[in-house]
């Protein structure tokens, strides 16, 4: 019995091959600025598809990414920096001895970032998913704040508000792009399994899902922890790309950007999350002009830092009011190739 | 008073009411009877414009098809909804106050009239409505609906979930209301109690009117008896 590859699998393979070829092309020929944007797109793809899993697929409104990305970034940074580098840069307080001893290679650093985030997510699941309601949003919003407060108030671990610098720059397009492809693959595998079906059932009608024997607490927890795991990994990649991190990097704006991405792409669609990432991250670069002084010929506006964020929030509100389904709705790429059938 | 022509009601895919005509004349009790799912409640909801529908509804000369529920109530409709739906977290008296929301000047007078009509709820006027028994809740729901001094009172399944003895009491009250000149549209699956107090009746089945006539004549009708016992 040979391996039979269906039509949509051919399409997937073609997409993966094209992406790999593009990664090679970009890292060989593109300028540094473009590569940085591509790296950003790859990392945000990881974050967006995982954020979409809890928000879009399982329908549980959460505002967690900045918290878990921060955790991942710090864990990776602490594992990648060697003892000397740490001793040298802790200015506020001396680091704990065990901090100096932390050390791992890049893969393990990313893995631990993910696991640590997922464990924290697990501990949040108990208060939040045990009661039905909308507390997930507010608890995760608060969680993001707490992580920042902890990072600022524990200089023995995090070097406080100064953050960590000189993190070895391990991330490149092969790492970010490769992990992005794996994440998309893994998430799609979940979505197209009994777990993904159960998540959608919880989103559509939680009571009925229970009436079919689904353990909805477990399903929501799985979705939440999986998101947290990949957000931790994404945070690790980000730390190893930027080479310096500080608590101010992980404000609510970070989460907000991801929210726009998945809403614009279509809540619940992994394909949509990827399209949204390209549009928003690319668009954010393009919209930089908004923050700068503008010359309308007859008059010139002063520089308005933050104007982009105003535009982002207006886009988000407009999409919710007038095009709630976003670009893809709940469809995936393969659904576009299905012939339209009539009953 | 009210004339309905070619009314269709839709719930998503289901056409719950499939083109019915009926009318209620001033001072009468008219009942719509039929088994569960025949389209009775849908008809009432359509009169109050809370569902998707097509057709013509003429209420004392006004075309009401495009008005919102709350303006229709201000125009003189009043509904005692299925399952009573009293505000369980409000006191009995506050429930009556809600009924007179747009009728401030007559509130005190009407309140006293209701307490006279239903002495049982007067005793409990400061209790939360949720603590009343089913029968008392039904009486409260009726008096709340009367607080707006409606031109047309509609009752949706007033016998629902009530013990037979209480059903008797409720229907006696309805008959009394008619004597005071209130026009009533009654929707009921308990066909015989409805027929007993009404002047005219329409029988609904699967969204269509299958029979109509003067209530007195229908009581003795074998077919009706058969239908509602399934014999």
């Amino acid at each position: 019995m040979g391996i039979v590859i269906r039509k949509d699998q051919w399409i997937n393979l073609a997409i993966i091959a094209t992406t790999l070829w593009f990664m090679w092309l970009a890292s060989t020929y593109f300028d540094e600025y473009t590569v940085r944007i591509l790296n950003n797109i790859a990392i945000f793809t990881i974050l967006a598809v995982s954020y979409n899993l809890i928000n879009g697929v399982a329908g549980q409104f959460s505002l967690e990414p900045n918290g878990f990305v921060a955790i991942g970034a710090y864990v990776t940074a602490l594992l990648l920096l060697d003892g000397d580098a740490k001793e040298y840069q802790y200015d506020i307080e001396d680091p704990y001895p065990w901090i100096l001893g932390l050390q791992a290679n890049f893969i393990w650093a990313l893995f631990f970032s993910g696991v640590f985030s997922a464990l924290l997510a697990l501990s949040l699941s108990f208060p939040v998913f045990r009661v039905r309601g909308d507390y997930l949003a507010i608890v995760t919003l608060g969680f993001g704040f707490i992580i920042r407060i902890l990072a600022i108030n524990n200089p023995e671990i995090t070097n406080g508000s100064l953050g960590l610098n000189d993190i070895p720059e391990f991330s490149n397009l092969y790492w970010t792009g490769g992990i992005a492809i794996l994440s998309v693959w893994g998430i799609l595998n979940i979505v197209n399994s009994k777990y993904g079906r159960a998540m959608k059932a919880v989103r559509d009608d939680e009571d009925t899902a229970i009436a079919m024997g689904v353990n909805t607490f477990k399903i929501k927890t799985f979705a939440f922890c999986t998101s947290a795991f990949l957000e931790g990994v994404g945070g690790g990649l980000l730390a190893a790309l930027l080479t310096s991190i500080s608590p101010d990097l992980f404000t609510f704006f970070f989460t907000f950007q991801l929210l726009i991405i998945i809403v614009l792409g279509g809540l619940g669609s992994t394909t949509g999350a990827i399209i949204g990432t390209i549009l928003v991250i690319g668009g954010a670069e393009w919209m930089r002009f908004l923050d700068e002084p503008m010359n309308f010929g007859f008059f010139e506006t002063p520089a308005m830092p933050g104007m982009r964020m105003v535009v982002f929030s207006i886009i988000l509100i407009l999409v919710m009011l007038f095009a709630r389904e976003g670009i893809m709705g709940k469809r995936e790429l393969k659904d576009l190739f299905k012939p339209k059938s009539k009953l | 008073m009210i004339r309905v022509n070619n009314l269709h009601v839709y719930y998503g895919l289901i056409e719950a009411v499939k083109g019915i005509d009926f009318k209620v004349q001033e001072g009468q009790i008219v009942s719509l009877i039929g088994s569960n799912g025949a389209g009775k409640t849908s008809t009432l909801e359509a009169l109050l414009n809370s569902v998707k529908k097509t057709g013509e509804v003429n209420f004392s000369g006004y075309d009401t098809i495009n008005h919102k529920t709350h303006t229709l109530v201000q125009r003189g409709f009043s509904l005692v909804p299925e399952g009573r739906r009293v505000f369980i977290n409000l006191t009995v008296e506050d429930n009556l106050r809600m009924g007179a929301f747009n009728n401030d000047e007559n509130y005190e007078r009407l309140k006293d009239a209701m307490y006279e009509l239903f002495p049982r709820i007067k005793e409990k006027r400061l209790q939360m409505a949720g603590t009343l028994s089913g029968g008392e809740q039904q009486m409260l729901a009726i008096s709340r609906a009367l607080m707006s001094e409606p031109k047309l009172l509609m009752l949706d399944e007033p016998s629902l979930g009530l013990a037979p003895k209480i059903v008797g009491e409720v229907f006696e009250t309805i008959a009394k209301l008619k004597k005071e000149g209130i026009t009533i549209l009654l929707v009921e699956q308990n066909a015989f109690v409805a027929l007993k107090i009404s002047d005219y009746a329409y029988v609904l089945e699967n969204g269509k009117i299958v029979m109509q006539g003067v209530s007195k004549d229908m009581i003795g009708n074998d077919e009706i008896r058969k239908k509602y016992l399934g014999g």
Partner: protein, 257 residues
């Protein structure tokens, strides 16, 4: 005896919805719960499925007390249900709706699904096959890939029953399955339920208003009125019973005739 309710009482605030009701359903029986609207029938279902906690009394299923178990656990023990107003998962296809019923009978882990390990493929193939069999049984296999809520009302009702059967129940609770159907559809449904009872080795407990439907289908009926049992026995006798007639039709028997 497969399901037994002993002195079950349910109070909401001060109102008693069910007043010390006792009844027992035998294996392979089609048992009808009837009574006027608001008589506490759906509440009874919710107590059996664990959605409500009985204020008093016991629910015994296959010789075990189940009234303290969580709803999803009770389903896994073999109690399946449908809803009065059809509740399908509206963004999902017909087959995915049915596959949710197989959820807890599908044996692969989360990691096996993420990494697409062999057991994932084997199990998916197995349950898909079984889901298609059930859809085929109901004559709706050709709609498998359609969005469930695009189907007609009667077909949606069948999807809902198919989905409930996918949980491999011992007892199936049907909440007004014939509501909104015309006489021809009702007849077809009655035949289908009876056939499914035989083919799937089921016990059926159903709520219904349509006396004709109950008469055609049920082996035994329980008539509830305002939370109290007023009749238990053969449906043919129910419609001759004085108390039942009074509850259903009002007291016309001694007044107006």
């Amino acid at each position: 005896m497969i399901l037994e309710l002993k002195n079950v009482t349910k109070k909401f605030g001060g109102v008693t919805a069910i007043n010390s009701t006792t009844f027992a359903v035998n294996s392979k029986e089609i048992y009808g719960l009837i009574g006027p609207n608001g008589a506490g029938k759906t509440t009874m279902f919710n107590i059996i499925t664990g959605n409500y906690q009985a204020t008093d009394g016991e629910v015994i299923f296959k010789n075990e007390k189940i009234n303290t178990l969580k709803p999803h656990v009770i389903v896994r023990r073999g109690v399946a249900r449908t809803f009065q107003n059809i509740r399908l998962f509206h963004t999902m296809s017909v087959i995915d709706n049915v596959l949710i019923g197989f959820d807890f009978q599908t044996n692969y882990t989360y990691l096996e699904s993420i990494f697409r390990l062999p057991r994932f493929f084997g199990e998916e193939k197995r349950i898909r096959g079984r889901a298609m069999e059930i859809l085929d049984y109901f004559g709706i296999a050709k709609f498998a890939e359609h969005k469930a809520t695009d189907l007609s009302y009667g077909q949606q009702r069948k999807v809902e029953i198919a989905r409930a059967l996918a949980t491999s129940p011992t007892i199936l609770l049907l909440d007004e399955p014939a509501a909104g159907m015309n006489p021809a559809e009702t007849k077809e449904l009655a035949d289908l339920i009876r056939k499914a009872r035989d083919d799937f080795d089921l016990t059926v407990l159903l709520i219904e208003h349509d006396m004709k439907f109950v008469n055609q289908l049920c082996d035994k009926v329980l008539v509830l009125d305002y939370g109290k049992t007023i009749f238990e026995g053969l449906p043919a006798n129910a419609i001759k019973d004085k108390k039942v007639i009074t509850a259903y039709l009002g007291d016309f028997t001694h007044d107006s005739c």
